[in-house]
Symmetry: C2
């Protein structure tokens, strides 16, 4: 067992796209565990677009990261030492923990994972927060009906790809918006989307209209910005828009300006509603069970883009804003010591 | 009985604020009534902000007015000749009719009014479309709860003043936004609003924050634009925004640009929904009955601004955009021939 480990601190509050100097790798000593303590070896880290918001010093639905302290996020880890009766060496857990090679914990907030039920990384994607975000936002706010048109932006990402597949399971016609021809191909040929549009092409607005011959009934919005302006011009009467994210603006300084949209909502009696996954905390077990069932029945696919090496965590995070990921972006930090996966 | 009458045609599609030359007063002959026909003498005309939208040649929830044809809107009229068994001389009716001194009808779409139950003009305001717009938008979309803060823009108008009073009946704290000190005084001292803010003052944004110590739970939006941007910055978690109108932009050419709002909805899990009164057509009798009950119990007040003279109809309409009206803006065209009001 090593005596020291590295963790990643927020060194500066970034302006625009974060850069290397905004992250500091700090060497720390592994402390005494104490009574009830457990030592967790990080296997995988999750990097997520919402974390960019926490790098700003502004009030939001979740507190900002503190400067010169560890960045925190979703972590899959192995218990490698334990003074707790609840946890044994070799247990795999997920939790909201430091971006670090090791974490010390008393077990609070950790969830044990059965590696036999599904690949453990699925707990960070389709069976975890991103799958649940898709599930509740689409079904509770979007309420897609058979034959309706559902369109999703950020469609090749972890949330978007789940949204599209769940909408298909509900009998909707599904259109995706993504940023490369490779992603368009994946959406149509791997995930079974009915159409997909590349927002980086000059012909985006025309392509979008062509992909929406019957307009839009549900728009699951991960991106905001110009892309959303274009979709909102295609709303049918009584359209519903679950607002999940605005990744197009996460690295912008200054105000995000665009056409005011109220009139478009009035003339179509349409609705938009923001949400964060915490709104549905009490229903997580129900959502996770249904997602796991669909996964086991082969009705849901998911993709992971895995970067190897703890030192590449900032790059993996920045890749989210460059669109380099297909599906869920993870960092593989280490192999387990005891568990067989 | 006269042989001719005047009606008002749309002579041009206005750019910006409509002007005199956009309206033409056309003299017409009163035609033969024919079997089942009735002749209606206009007593009052309703002028409403939404009519500006119908002067544009764009698709919306209601068809555009045709050039060189009569403008149509809400009319209170007296039956002065009748070949119909359903209608007698002296009956008072409301309907969607031409802006004209006389209309000929077969009775379709007309509603008979009992002048003894309430002043007939109330059927064009608190007991008519504007009252129902307030009632359904606030209660079905806004869903105000006791102790919550409800804010309404265009608060001294026909819809806004009803919204505020209904919200008070539901136990909410009510804040109004209006454009003159006279209106602010009216909202607080006549209608019992808890606070009211003048959006034309330089201190509007600070005044607004001061009037909202507990934030915003429901924002009934009649105006859009800068005023709504400011209110949307004060949303509480799970706020609801019924979108009724965007009067601030009805006379604008070019695109209405402002800060994109999706992020503010995500971080507060808030919702906005557009509506038009037609969405609630099947529930009109229920809404009208409850409004009439509240009115008879003295729980609702309403104000009318009445311009005298058919020739002043365009001016009365334009006054809506200058904010010269308090409550419902009507035009008195004539006194009845037979009915005693």
């Amino acid at each position: 067992m090593p005596k020291t480990y590295k963790e990643i601190h927020l060194a500066n509050r970034p302006e625009g796209l974060p850069a290397d100097e905004d992250f500091a790798f700090i060497e720390k000593e592994i402390p005494e565990l104490g009574a009830g303590g457990i030592l967790l070896k990080t296997l995988y880290l999750s990097v997520d677009p919402y974390m960019r918001g926490r790098m700003r010093d502004v009030k939001s639905y979740i507190a900002p990261f503190e400067l010169n302290k560890a960045i925190t996020g979703g972590v899959l880890a192995e218990v490698v030492e334990s003074n707790s009766e609840e946890f044994q060496k070799g247990d795999i857990v997920s939790g909201h923990l430091n971006w670090a090679e090791y974490n010390v914990s008393k077990g609070k907030g950790l969830q044990k994972i059965d590696p036999a039920a599904a690949p453990i990384t699925a707990r960070m994607s389709i069976l975890g927060m991103t799958g649940l975000t898709a599930y509740f936002g689409l079904l509770d706010i979007g309420k897609p009906q058979p034959g309706e048109t559902v369109i999703v932006s950020g469609a090749a990402g972890a949330v978007g790809s789940a949204v599209g597949q769940i909408a298909k399971l509900k009998g909707a016609r599904v259109v995706g918006i993504a940023g490369s021809d490779e992603k368009i191909d994946y959406l149509i040929n791997e995930l079974g989307f009915d159409a997909a549009v590349n927002y980086k092409k000059d012909s985006f607005v025309e392509d979008l209209k062509a992909a929406l011959p019957d307009g839009v009934d549900v728009y699951f919005d991960n991106v905001g910005g110009d892309v959303s302006d274009a979709v909102i011009s295609e709303l049918n009467n009584n359209a519903r828009i679950p607002l999940c994210g605005t990744i197009s603006s996460y690295n912008s300084e200054g105000e995000d300006i665009g056409p005011r949209m109220q009139w478009k909502f009035i003339k179509t009696s349409s609705m938009m509603k923001g949400f964060t996954i915490g709104d549905y905390a009490k229903d997580f077990p129900k959502g996770a069970a249904e997602l796991e069932k669909w996964l086991q029945e082969g009705k849901l696919k998911y993709e992971e883009t895995i970067v190897e090496g703890f030192e590449n965590t900032p790059d993996a995070f920045l890749g989210l804003f460059k669109g380099t990921n297909l599906g869920k972006q993870l960092v593989k930090v280490a192999d387990p010591e005891f568990a067989k996966l």
